[in-house]
Symmetry: C2
Subunit: 208 residues, 2 copies
DNA sequence: TAGATTGTTAATCGATTAACAATC
DNA sequence: TAGATTGTTAATCGATTAACAATC
């Protein structure tokens, strides 16, 4: 029985909060409390937690540490995933330096760029290599995950190259729907989608 | 009868494709073709389109221009929304320069930062002002939308200031769940959530 | 103990998908 | 005309929520 995607999407918020509570020295936490803090319903938090297999105790709640460990395991964040970045523009640069990734088990270890002027430089701590080095780098370092942060028009070409190089999962930030073989995991982070939801909500509010 | 959020989330992809078709000179487009291109089912595309009120013609499809106009209207993207940005770090800088926003009716017209060294500089074309100027700027320019791209620990303070200044909607990129009054539209773009879904899918693939 | 909280089972809700008549 | 495509109504599917007994 697989964990529903909507539940998976709430896991990072639980995790963030739980880590905070752990730092504060709390041993147990109730679903009610998590729910209040995140604006969710207690029943939903309980249901979500039940997906991890962790059991709580009535009146007391769940063990903070056990919950953190299990959430990280379910997300595959317990052993850090090394990833490469393609595209070293402003977005790529921001992603390479993004502090939050540490806590996600995600580590960007190299960046690749067509622009030869950027090759040899660093994005924060991440070295920039030329595109030609990509296939051998992926192979030699057994990289599974690639992040695409190139302009829309080159995204498909980059994706094709990544697939040919043996990547398993692609996280695409370019504003275009790229196509990949069915066995490749594809995740799109589309700013337009987020903004669409925001816009629609604003529009509703205005017309109330 | 409100348009479902999942449908709203697919609108940007339709729009992007339709604009491409328009540029290519196509007059009509079938739901079948849109579906194939985006990896969706035709029935779902038809259902989504029906939410816009646009009617198609059997065998011929939908008028590309009418569909574009109606999708943009439904999203509130027909009249450009001016927004401000708070935080001028790497992420803020990338957002300010993001080319894709043009097509969304989103225009970032100013940025605000606590760091006085940045005040007076520009992120691309976007001027950086000091935080003290924020409330009057929002008031005078009737800004409805603010984008938060500051570190997690200052996000709540920024949100409070924005609410006090009269902002209607907040798009939060900081990795933290901020709290706002119920009448404020809050949209979170959380890289952790996207990565969680990607990780979970990779994990499933590996254990198959 | 009393009462808050858990875990489970069932009900509800909403989105997706299927079926099919209408139509160009 | 024949056949692809639309629009509608109903069925299915999956997630959320409610109800409530169990329990610490």
């Amino acid at each position: 029985m697989q964990i529903p995607i909507p539940t998976i999407k709430r896991f990072p918020s639980y995790l963030r909060l739980l880590k905070l509570y752990k730092k504060q020295g709390m041993i147990h936490i109730s679903a009610t409390m998590l729910a209040n803090e995140l604006g969710l319903k207690p029943i939903q938090v309980r249901k979500d937690i039940s997906c991890t297999g962790i059991e709580g105790r009535p009146r007391i709640g769940f063990e903070v540490e056990a919950l953190i460990a299990m959430l990280e395991e379910q997300l595959g964040w317990d052993n850090s995933s090394e990833a490469i970045l393609v595209g070293s523009g402003h977005l790529g640069s921001a992603l390479a330096r993004y502090e939050g990734f540490d806590g996600y088990g995600l580590k960007i270890i190299a960046s690749f760029d067509l622009n030869t002027a950027k090759v040899g430089t660093f994005l924060g701590e991440v070295p920039v290599f030329s595109m030609e080095k990509l296939p051998s780098f992926v192979l030699e370092n057994r990289i599974h995950i690639a992040i695409i942060a190139v302009p829309a028009q080159s995204a498909q070409d980059v994706a094709d190259l990544l697939v040919k190089s043996g990547i398993l999962a692609i996280w695409n930030f370019a504003p275009v729907d790229i196509k990949v073989p069915g066995d490749i995991v594809l995740q799109r982070t589309d700013l337009a989608v987020s903004f669409a939801v925001l816009s629609a909500k604003v529009k509703r509010k205005m017309s109330d």
